[in-house]
């Protein structure tokens, strides 16, 4: 759909955001990769140090080892000598772990699309929802938000304030209301009076180990599916970029309970690297869809694997 095709400007802007947010990362850590490869000879220590750097970016041991091993074989096989070539090969290996189909389901023609947002406490769901709403609003969609986090104190007020700021309506009930009922109401309102095209549902933060709370997500999905064909059309897990290896467990449990279709990597403006997304995509097949790069509603971009990796490795686009 023409409406959603990105202009080259937008593309560049998105990439710039990802790269800029990773600037601190590369200065702090990945800048050293250059130095590493500038050494005259690639020794065992070089590879070990590279492995270290990747682990420090939260890639996890398995992924780090595999990437280094593949790179090492490739460098040997293709007789790569120059520093920039080694780096390019590394970028290539990392990017290959992130190749995934783009998120198109929301752009399919239908009257109402539904996105369900899930995640652990404090991962950045509400802020990400505001940004996502702004993102689609900019692309001409009529967006409505559902305040289905009825548990956390003032969560409803928080999303309402965001709604006002970005000019998007929020459907809410009183604190403590049944989240399923809020979803039901929100869908009805979206379909009838509001004529909305996209409904984004905020849910309460929950640790993935809490069985009953995870069950509740299933119930909310049921409410969606009964009212809108195939809904929710996307279920996005909001992941804090500072999260370590536990992110895999999070993704796994949320995928099982709520059939998550992708990730929003939040707080990428911190000094954390979000390297765990490589393992999540490889092990669970869950791609990153968007990245959050700051506290303003516009600090948000579609995920671009190449830009993400290049940002990490400090390679100009």
């Amino acid at each position: 759909m023409a409406l959603f095709r990105k202009t080259p400007d937008e593309r560049a802007e998105g990439q710039a955001k990802i790269e800029a947010s990773l600037t601190k990362t590369r200065q702090g850590l990945f800048g050293r990769i250059s130095a590493l490869f500038q050494a005259n000879e690639l020794t065992d220590e070089t590879w070990e140090e590279l492995e270290e750097l990747l682990i420090q970016a939260d890639l996890g041991i398995d992924t780090a080892l595999r990437v280094v091993e593949r790179l090492r074989t490739r460098v040997h096989r293709e007789n790569i000598k120059r520093e920039d070539e080694v780096r390019a090969a590394l970028a290539d290996e990392l990017t290959r772990l992130l190749t995934h189909p783009a998120m198109t389901s929301i752009e399919e023609p239908r009257r109402l699309s539904v996105i369900l947002i899930v995640g652990v406490n404090g991962s950045g769901k509400t802020t990400s929802i505001a940004k996502l709403a702004q993102y689609y609003k900019r692309r001409g969609k009529r967006v409505v938000l559902a305040a289905a986090d009825t548990f956390r104190a003032a969560a409803i007020d928080q999303i309402k304030i965001w709604g006002e700021r970005i000019g998007v309506e929020v459907i809410a009930q009183a604190p403590g209301a049944d989240p399923g009922a809020v979803v039901y109401d929100a869908i009805r309102a979206s379909q009838e009076s509001r004529q909305a095209e996209l409904l984004i549902i905020d849910t309460a933060g929950r640790l993935h180990t809490k069985y009953n709370l995870m069950k509740e997500l299933e119930k909310m999905r049921g409410v969606c599916a009964r009212q809108v064909h195939d809904a929710p059309h996307e279920t996005l897990l909001v992941l804090d970029a500072t999260t370590g290896q536990n992110a895999i467990s999070q993704a796994k449990h949320f995928k099982e309970a709520a059939q998550v279709t992708g990730l929003i990597l939040a707080k990428l403006d911190s000094t954390a690297k979000g390297g765990i997304v490589f393992a999540i995509e490889e092990e669970l097949g869950l791609p990153v869809r968007f990245v959050g790069t700051g506290e303003k509603p516009d600090d948000f971009a579609e995920f671009d694997p190449r830009a993400f990796v290049n940002g990490l490795l400090d390679i100009g686009y």
């Binding site: 702090g28 682990i55 804090d240 500072t242 370590g244 000094t271």
Partner: protein
């Protein structure tokens, strides 16, 4: 979940067939596994390196104690080093004249506001009056959040809206705390990145104005390698006095705690273990060390069992077990207790060595099995529950109909129950039995 480190080490040592002293070669092989376990637990790379170095220094040449296997010997040393790094539990420093000022700082979403409320409630249990101070003027509805929490637990909240700069809010709050003769005032600050110049400057100004006795970094137990930089960043700018680890009720191994302790040297004061305002626990270095090493969390399990089970019930059950009088009625009761503790897979994960088992079990199936067992026993008469031997073919068919199962299901259950009874009797007779169970748990 992860296989217990000890099991992995056992494999390593079986290959080496070590006896007597630990050689450098043994230790190196073992430490590779230790290193992996720590990295999997999100302990920072550099911290792991140092720690592994220290363990190696201590372990090489050590005589393996008679009562331990080489694997256990190495784990013991690692455990001791972890304990040393984690440090002693420490309480809030409330010395000197009141009001004492406690400031909570940390990244966005680490759990500061929830923790502030928990601390206030915790203080009240010790007969201290706390005043919560809403100094997060940035995040939408942060002030409403702390006000709502304050109301829920009946703790006063000082707030001046979002227009007054946080340093001013806190100094006004201090005046109020003095006038109101509060014992402690707890400042909830906005989440911020340790690299944000402006916001870190704000913390420095608050510190200069109200001179907090405690500046506590609130950090998410799920934090990865970055924990080192975060802790260091905050420590350098504002001088931390302690750490609070939050969301410990999840399944994160919590290696971040080691990293943060190592770079700051300040004590861990509390752990956040749930969303409710009373879910704040004192820090037990021993438990956290075991958890980081992936050795299960028996203590938490035992504690949870204690929470849900009636003590006198448990004691009566224990006596019955020992005497071998445990019947299906008691079994049903136990099942119901276990169900209260959470899904079975979650419970099993806390038992050392069982983590792997749970991977193969879908939570639904195991919990469904529990339901089936419950249904079967519920369909029995009291006499049948107390004395399953009376269950003949006709009775079994009736029970099967009543519970929607088959006679085969009932036979399976009775078989399992008899096995369990035998095991229990063995345990009850003490000596070998008990040791047998301990070996199983190792």
């Amino acid at each position: 979940m992860f296989e217990s480190l000890q099991n992995k080490l056992k494999v390593v040592f079986e290959k080496l067939a070590t006896r007597g002293r630990l050689t450098e070669q043994d230790v190196d092989a073992a430490l590779r596994e230790v290193r992996l376990a720590l990295l999997e637990a999100d302990v920072n790379y550099k911290v792991v390196k140092d720690l592994v170095g220290r363990v190696k220094e201590r372990a090489v040449g050590v005589e393996v104690m008679k009562s331990l296997t080489p694997a256990q010997q190495v784990v013991k040393i690692v455990h001791e080093e972890l304990l040393k790094t984690l440090g002693e539990p420490s309480r809030l420093n409330l010395s000197g004249p009141a009001p004492h000022v406690v400031m909570l700082v940390g990244l966005q979403g680490s759990g500061k506001t929830t923790t502030a409320a928990k601390l206030a409630l915790n203080l009240r249990k010790g007969n201290k009056r706390a005043l919560l101070v809403a100094a997060d003027t940035y995040r939408p509805a942060a002030i409403t959040q702390i006000e709502v929490l304050g109301k829920q637990i009946d703790i006063p909240v000082f707030s001046e809206g979002t227009q007054v700069p946080p340093p001013e809010i806190t100094s006004h709050a201090l005046r109020r705390a003095r006038e109101g003769a509060y014992d402690v005032m707890i400042i909830d600050t906005a989440g911020r990145l340790q690299i944000s110049e402006a916001l870190m400057g704000e913390l420095e100004r608050i510190k200069a104005l109200v001179k907090p006795q405690e500046i506590l970094l609130v950090a998410d137990a799920m934090t990865g390698q970055e924990a080192v930089n975060v802790a260091q960043g905050f420590h350098e700018r504002v001088g931390l006095t302690g750490l609070i680890l939050t969301k410990v009720d999840g399944d994160a191994r919590g290696g971040a705690a080691i990293s943060m302790r190592e770079v700051t040297g300040v004590p861990i004061k509390f752990l956040g273990v749930g969303e409710k305002s009373d879910a704040l626990e004192p820090f037990h270095p021993d438990r956290l060390a075991s958890r980081i090493l992936g050795m299960g969390d028996m203590l938490t399990l035992i504690e949870r069992a204690g929470e849900t089970m009636d003590r006198s019930d448990a004691e009566r059950m224990g006596r019955k077990l020992v005497k071998g009088e445990f019947n299906l009625e008691d079994f049903l009761k136990q099942l119901q207790e276990i169900k209260k503790m959470g899904p079975l897979t979650q419970i099993l994960e806390m038992i050392p060595g069982m983590g792997r088992l749970t991977q193969e079990m879908a939570p639904e199936t195991t919990d469904k099995q529990l339901c089936t067992i419950e249904a079967i026993i519920s369909s029995m008469t009291r006499e049948e529950r107390r004395n399953p031997r009376v269950l003949n073919g006709s009775r079994k068919r009736r029970v099967a109909r009543g519970s929607g199962t088959t006679v085969q299901d009932i036979n399976d259950l009775l078989d399992q129950f008899r096995q369990m009874q035998r095991m229990m009797k063995q345990l009850g007779s003490g000596g070998r039995g008990m040791r047998g169970l301990m070996d199983m748990l190792r």
